[in-house]
């Protein structure tokens, strides 16, 4: 199930927009592919992330993968719960498994992202 109210990247991040704030996580498909997640490396509050650039990494029992920022801006909040419970990303990828909240610098960047329909098609084609 791909939530209708989010936007997506081809590197399997999702983004939830609330005015100029964006909540970012990885998709259910991504966590399924990664397997059990053991560790997350996330940016610090106050740092900035840039669209298309790496903002952290996710380590699963299989592999370590980069996290790519869908939009640019300042990190306002980091999900501290993931430090002790990275498995939340597996269990609630679109909910409790959110990773960071960014204050967007260029809200129009959202328009560049995949729609739910486009992402669904993208995953099917892979």
């Amino acid at each position: 199930m791909i939530p209708e109210d989010l936007r997506y990247t081809s590197t399997h991040e999702w983004l939830r927009v609330d005015d100029d704030l964006a909540t970012i996580g990885i998709t259910d498909h991504a966590q399924e592919e990664l397997g059990d997640i053991v560790y997350l490396e996330l940016p610090e509050v106050g740092s900035t992330v840039t669209a298309g650039h790496v903002f952290g990494s996710v380590e699963s029992v299989k592999t370590v993968s980069d996290l790519t920022a869908p939009v640019s801006g300042e990190v306002l909040e980091v999900n501290e719960e993931l430090t002790d419970s990275p498995d939340l990303v597996n269990e609630e990828s679109y909910g409790g498994g959110w990773m960071i909240i960014v204050k967007m610098e260029i809200p129009s960047e959202v328009e560049e992202l995949l729609t739910p329909e486009q992402y669904e098609k993208f995953v099917e084609e892979q």
């Binding site: 059990d36 997640i37 053991v38 498995d87």
Partner: protein, 482 residues
Amino acid sequence: MNEPTIFERSVSGRTGVYFQESGLDSTMTQILGEENLRHDLPLPEVSQVDVIRHYTRLSAMNYGVDSGFYPLGSCTMKYNPKIHEEIAAMPGFSRLHPNQQAESCQGILRMLFEMQCFVQEITGMDAVTLQPAAGAHGELTALMVFKRHFERVGERHRRIVIVPDSSHGTNPATAARCGYEVIQITSGTDGRVDIARLREQLSDETAAVMLTNPNTLGLFETQIAEIADLVHKAGALLYCDGANMNAIMGIHRPGDAGFDAMHLNLHKTFSTPHGGGGPGSGPIAVKDFLASYLPVPVVAQNEDGYYLNYDLPDSIGAVHSFYGNIGMIVRAFAYIISLGANGLREVSENAVLNANYLLSKVSDSYEVPYGTKCMHEFVASAVRQKPRGVKALDIAKRLIDFGFHPPTIYFPLIVPEALMVEPTETESIESLNAFADALNAIAKEAEVSPEMVTSAPHHTPVGRLNEAAAARNMELTWTVGD
């Protein structure tokens, strides 16, 4: 798990050994003082047979090369001949003290010296240190040697190490640990180094290129001479990750192919215990121009006999306490002596033969993205099973039900749903057939009853674990009263 702890087996008043009145109590009181004696410790009260059965059952839950086939790709889990244990336990080896004077331990020094010579001969290199504790430690030692070399020749600006995307994770990790920037190059469609991409990345900032040969896809880098030439023309050094030496012993020497340094994993290729069975050992061998940077001491020989040479002014220093994991070097030495040069060559020939045989037995059931010929290991893929919901992880878990240790999975990273199989030369045709039958049976199950595979294992003391939670929320203690 259905095995209670030894404490939970305790029954008040039961005992394993009866002591006669010995007077020990009053002696202990005198020595320790009454206030330091505790009579309320909840030690388990069990009979001898309770103890024996408890620990025998626990040991039977373990799995090792002595229990069955262990095809863990890139790990060379070969049988460890038992005579090595007897030799390593001989008092001349086991009762030495590392601070003994050289004249009182000429035997072990001679063994170490000759081992250095064997490693030189097998690798085609000129000088050896036996200190590193394992392969990655050997890599780090070699890169420190490279770094010292570039400092000495005034080329400190070389700050980049290049690795292919099929490399062992230890390669980029050790390069980064050594202060280098790592550049990863994408492999060619045939799974080998893409020469054009390598050429693009080489520059006067390149310190080293690290390659595994044969590589982690089980393919020999056929263009190794050209690669070595390119690397050296750029002024960089070429490192060989020797993890896959089991494919080429006595047939191909990395030193002859242009590599400047390499490590051996004695716990892989040279049959010393591995993976919980004992510490590793990762000697490195280098070309002449790097010899003076090796860790001290090296074992040397003069007219008085063998001695530990600390007089290497350019040395990077010691990388291990004393002289390395000596007990493992003794075992590997015994292995080399008992097989001889021809025997080592046969090891590699049979390792490659076994892998190709197994590959041919399973290549109808599984995708084999890099072809049906391999060196000592091959990589299959579960992409054909995936649409049925069956992944490499599930196949690995189901293999446990068939009595086999799973192969390496999800490595190398460039193969989706990778199953990396290395049978080694020590397996009989019967065990290879049995493993192939199991893999083929699982491929069939994936077609007709995928849930059988995705919910495996079914016949183990515990079922499918959440691997992340199992590592994170361990219960390692048992408390009285629980």
